[in-house]
Symmetry: C2
């Protein structure tokens, strides 16, 4: 089986949406990426850090999904990264109420020895120096490196971000971030400029409006599945990235055509993530459910005009 | 050839975008619908009203596209409807600067005798009583009636709007308007509620984010083509409606599967409309150009995952 190395936060989230609120529940980019990627036939490991306030049951959950957690450092006496957010009525915008970095502030990632030859590396949203440090530790060039990031690092650590962007094959980024990073309003122009920064593939995430994949002058679009109810968007982007990188890892095929399939799987898995609070839905989603939804994705966009 | 009856404004527009501004140029919903539908193999007529300030060359343009203009009333001494708008930098929002109803204020539509048996009726955005009056004049039940409307009528003439909505087969409406009309934020729920109001088919236009077609519990999505430059969005929604209704008229097939093709053609033609100011691009678009873009639409969304 191919190996997927995942770097990112493992955290506590407290979420409030128009439909309810949670106490501190399991969250973090690497958690969502790992749960999503575990859907595929692969070996995976998470590199992250938590405090000793982090419940064993959360770690056990990851282990139960065949995720290697030996790269999750547990800091004695440390407190786990905590984020709290409040979603507005349209669920498209949110306010961050609390961000406590805690053990994340001094995080020095350590890649497990048996993942220094991982086939695919998924760099979840973190400080770009942490992302770079993971790449520095690889002993074999991965077949594919995927990077997710956000506007915060563009504001606070742009030179470091540009350095790590140079080193990756695929970047996933949302539409506003693509505009900020490139200085272009048109997403086509933005994707072209970002390709010049290094990544040969640019994935622009548009939330409920789907995702675009750019490569050279080609473009592919994966819709989001129209849902009756979106309950909690937290983690949808990370679940998308986990589906994308997980499918690529399983299939060992990094062609543009196969990346189309990868972003369809990413959208597919993300459509489950938003159906319940936090990681709840991703803990139970089955292969049969994903297969049914794949048919829905096909019928959503497939047409056959005779010219 | 099948007949398409188009009702809507024929007007002057003055447009300002970040890329430039125009004097009073040819505009109006029926103009865009007519030009777009003229791409197909059909007979069409416009029912509208202008003042005698309306240049003969604009009428000649419509005639040159084989559009029957005998239903465009020319009011002696009257002034043509005039709209002026200013687009913001993102082109997704605009301010209306001037709206002069002029001859439109007392418009009594008169359907030409030889279009009272039209196969398809496209009711462009106008007062719902005008739209109803056109349906009252039909002597044969059309195979399909398509209605476009906007939030203005929901605010000012809701009972009349609901009356005409009851009588149509397809409604085209943008996402915010669908939410306003239904009281539902989820577009899936909104489309279900709007279907209960009468139309068996609900098309929700999302501008640069594409369009959704709902029928019973089925849904189809047509993306917008990602463009390097959008020059002027004026008329894109009407061009979409013209492509949709024009294709249906030509093909004589009102199945859900064929409506998928129709909204792809609508998106296709709309992608040309926005490339130049006003109707300029729609006056020259060729069958070869549309065919090339149809291939782009296919490669944009077609994928082939083996399950």
């Amino acid at each position: 089986m191919n190996k997927l190395l995942i770097v990112g936060t493992v955290a506590f989230d407290a979420i409030e949406t128009p439909f309810g609120k949670t106490d501190k529940i399991l969250g973090g980019a690497a958690t969502y990426i790992g749960l999503s990627a575990s859907f595929f036939n692969l070996q995976s490991a998470i590199v992250s850090v938590v405090g000793d306030d982090f419940p064993q049951e959360h770690l056990d959950l990851l282990t139960s999904k065949n995720i290697d957690i030996s790269g999750i450092e547990i800091v004695k006496g440390g407190k786990t990264f905590f984020w709290s957010g409040l979603y507005h009525n349209d669920l498209n915008s949110r306010d961050t109420l609390i961000t406590e970095l805690n053990v994340l502030a001094d995080f020095q990632p350590k890649v497990p020895q048996n993942y220094k030859d991982a086939d695919v590396v998924m760099l979840g949203n973190l400080h770009p120096l942490v992302q770079s440090s993971v790449l520095d530790q690889m002993e074999k060039k991965p077949k594919l490196v995927v990077l997710d990031t956000m506007n915060f690092w563009m504001d606070c650590a742009l030179p470091e971000l540009l350095d790590v962007i140079k080193r990756v094959d695929v970047i996933t980024i949302n539409d506003e971030e693509a505009r900020q990073l490139s200085g272009e309003y048109s997403l086509v122009k933005a994707a072209n400029k970002i390709q010049e920064m290094g990544p040969k593939y640019v994935v622009i995430k548009k939330g409920e409006h789907g995702a675009l994949l750019f490569h050279n002058r080609e473009v592919f679009f994966a819709p989001a599945l129209p849902l009756e109810d979106v309950f909690d968007p937290t983690g949808a982007g990370d679940t998308f990235a986990g589906g994308f990188s997980g499918f690529i890892t399983q299939s060992e095929n990094i062609s543009f055509n196969n990346m189309k399939n990868a972003i369809i799987y990413g959208s597919n898995l993300a459509s489950f993530c938003v159906e319940k609070f936090g990681t709840e839905r991703m803990q139970t989603v089955s292969k049969a459910e994903v297969a049914i939804r794949l048919q829905q994705f096909k019928s959503l966009t497939q047409f056959d005009i005779e010219i």
